[in-house]
């Protein structure tokens, strides 16, 4: 699979195809189960996990509630430390800013550390159109980029590829971009990592411009934090002369001290480690005396649907997300469907609530995402900032089916019900009518009970596919309302 996310089929179609891919399912099952078991152990080491989780939730909620204040404070702190802050209302504007900044350096290539935000806005494609080559340097992102593919997991984007596929991609593609893979490249992970090391090192050593995202931004000090494992992040943040960081406005924490919560919860939730191998923190640019790191630092603050999400009091909690990916690894739907089916850089349960809020629910794929869940609640249990993903899913289903008020690009709009949900909408309307007409409800239930001998085992017409793999629920011999009336009715009336 290759290409962009635009025009992706709706989740059920994409998921149906993915479920038929046995390699993908085996890779995913192995990976998600391995990480989830390790994560449980790492979390169990901290007996105050519940308190850390609650503190993380409260810090993020408070920040969102005062986001304007903290954005202004961050801007002042970054500027005071020698950085330049840019504001981007949408993807196109962010891409224009970054493209201009790169062009001003006179360079035509950049090295990138993995960044969800730049994937979200399609920065690599925008740079390519402007004649700038952007090299992804995270091993998994490199596999994805060389394979003309798309990421399928937040933390391990090439999780859908096995070692044989990766070997073939390296052997075929590395030479096109720089140092080719060795002739005798095997498919052992150590050999593959070595090939990536050699291929990328020549790029790191000559790169003049680095592009990153950030895991956290500290409003109080203007400090940015990048959490990673391989050292490619350190390379991109340290060696280039110019560093451009594109960061969503929700990544702020108010104070330096707040990092003590997230630096404990993020690594354990994501890679199931006590601490990830490398964390880099920098505040503006280094002074000329130490000359440690880039001389020019640009921070691009990205909205791109985040303020619209903030306007939704139920959905707003999705902005607490620290992109740990724990929810993906416990999700029975993700495990079977894989990340591509979600049609977004944010797959899994968090993607199912984030993408339709960032992009709106008008497209077919976005309208289908709130349904990409069994509502089992496992994602909520593992979330280190306690996002009630099932609550938001149900809230968004309501919006898809019924329409209603929402905010798009800062404007209050009233959404129409999405197409393709006519049957469900009709059923919901009928149910609503029945509930306010108790006589009709009672009569209907009695009819259902008395005709139960004649009920089919499967549904006719459009419901057939649904009932092909399920038994229809049995209708009881007597409606509950009648049973209550018969056994308790007299007592109540006798009071």
């Amino acid at each position: 699979m290759s290409g962009t996310f635009v025009g992706m089929p709706a989740f059920p179609v994409a998921a149906h195809e993915a479920v038929g891919n046995t390699t993908l399912r085996a890779n995913l099952r192995h990976a998600t189960h391995t990480i989830r078991d390790k994560r449980a152990k790492a979390v169990a080491e901290l007996d105050d996990w519940a308190l850390l989780r609650e503190a993380g939730k409260q810090i993020k909620d408070h920040t969102l509630r005062h986001l304007d204040t903290y954005l202004v404070q961050l801007e002042e702190a970054v500027t005071a430390a020698g950085g330049v802050v840019h504001w981007a209302a949408d993807a196109a504007e962010a891409n224009r800013i970054v493209t201009r900044l790169v062009k001003e350096t006179g360079e035509s290539e950049v090295v990138k550390v993995k960044s969800m935000a730049t994937q979200e806005i399609g920065l690599n494609e925008a740079l390519e159109e402007a004649g700038i080559a952007a090299y992804e340097t995270d091993l998994a992102e490199l596999i994805v980029q060389l394979g003309h593919d798309r990421p399928s997991h937040i933390l391990v984007p090439a999780i859908h590829r096995n070692r044989g596929e990766i070997r073939d991609i390296f052997a075929k593609e590395m030479g096109e971009w720089g140092r080719p893979a060795p002739e005798d490249l095997t498919d052992t992970p150590a050999d593959l990592a070595e090939a990536a090391r050699l291929h990328l090192r020549e790029k790191f050593l000559r790169a003049k411009v680095g592009i990153s995202g950030a895991n956290f931004m500290v409003a109080e000090t203007g400090t940015l934090v990048v959490v990673e494992s391989e050292g490619n992040g350190r390379m991109c943040l340290t060696l280039p002369e110019t560093l451009i960081s594109v960061v969503g406005i929700e990544k702020i924490v108010p104070t330096w001290r707040d990092l003590e919560v997230f630096l404990q919860t993020l690594p354990r939730s994501s890679t199931a480690e006590r601490m990830n191998p490398y964390t880099s923190m920098w505040t503006g640019t280094s002074d000329t005396e130490t000359a440690d790191g880039p001389r020019a630092f640009h921070l691009v603050l990205l909205d791109n649907g985040r303020t619209d999400t903030l306007a939704d009091e139920v959905g707003r909690q999705a902005l607490r997300c620290i992109r740990c990916s724990a929810c993906l690894n416990v999700c029975p739907v993700y495990e079977r469907a894989g990340g591509h089916a979600y049609g977004s850089v944010y797959p899994g349960p968090i993607g199912a609530i984030l993408s339709p809020q960032l992009r709106g629910t008008t497209s077919e794929i976005d309208a289908s995402l709130p349904y990409a869940s069994s509502l089992c609640g496992a994602c909520y249990e593992v979330c280190p900032v306690a996002i009630d993903i099932p609550e938001v899913l149900v809230h968004l289903r309501e919006r898809v089916v019924q329409g209603g008020p929402a905010t798009r690009q800062g404007n209050r709009v009233v959404l129409k019900p999405a197409k393709g949900h006519a049957a469900e909408r009709a059923a919901m309307r009928a149910a609503g009518w029945a509930f306010v007409h108790p006589g009709a409800l009672r009569a209907g239930q009695r009819v259902a009970s008395r005709t139960r001998r004649f009920h089919p085992r499967t549904l006719p017409g459009p419901g057939r596919a649904w009932s092909a793999t399920r038994d229809l629920p049995q209708v009881p011999a007597e409606p509950f309302r009648d049973w209550w009336q018969r056994t308790h009715g007299k007592k109540e009336s006798g009071k």
Binding site: V156, P157, S229, G231, L239, P254, P277, S280, M281
Partner: protein, 218 residues
Amino acid sequence: MSSRDIILGRVRRALGEAPRGDAQTSYETAVDREYRREHGSRTTEETVGLLAANLADYRAIVHRCQDEEELPDLIMRLLAARGPQYVLVPPGLPPEWMSAADPTRVHDRAVSTTHDVDKVGSVVTGCAVAVAETGTIVLDGSPDQGRRRITLIPDHHICVVRVPDQVVSSVPQALERLDPTRPLTWISGPSATSDIELDRVEGVHGPRTLEVVLVSGE
């Protein structure tokens, strides 16, 4: 209208007209910080032991040294085992640490290019603080640690930690000791990836070998 004004305006509309109070003053009470400052109770010696165990668990190689007098010999032996031609040292590294070492010492200079640094096999540094619960060493660019790139490009990093002075139990205690305005690098074990079928491979871009020397002081 600038995008700054547009975004801030959208944020304010999204949050509604209701009074929100002053962010900074309400923040003190907005967050329950009942989580622990450290996990479990340990003696100083046990904390150092935990640091050593957690470093080793993430495949750093740990050495203990009774006092600073033993240090030059140990560093010499560690370098001899790897046999690099050049060793990079930050400007403020105590010179006696390297007094027994054979390889040619080179200093990181502003004029040296990344390619120059790439020719170096090993680097020896001190550290700012080490975190026992996570097995982490933190560098803050002080004179005995040097610029960030010197501990990044060479393949072999020897980091000297003074115990127990430089050791804290936990992440909250480490943050208290650090200055956010300095360039900070937190290192937990050598560079690693699990991107290929979740098999852990040490070393992709950063040093593939991390040796931590715990020197008992005073």
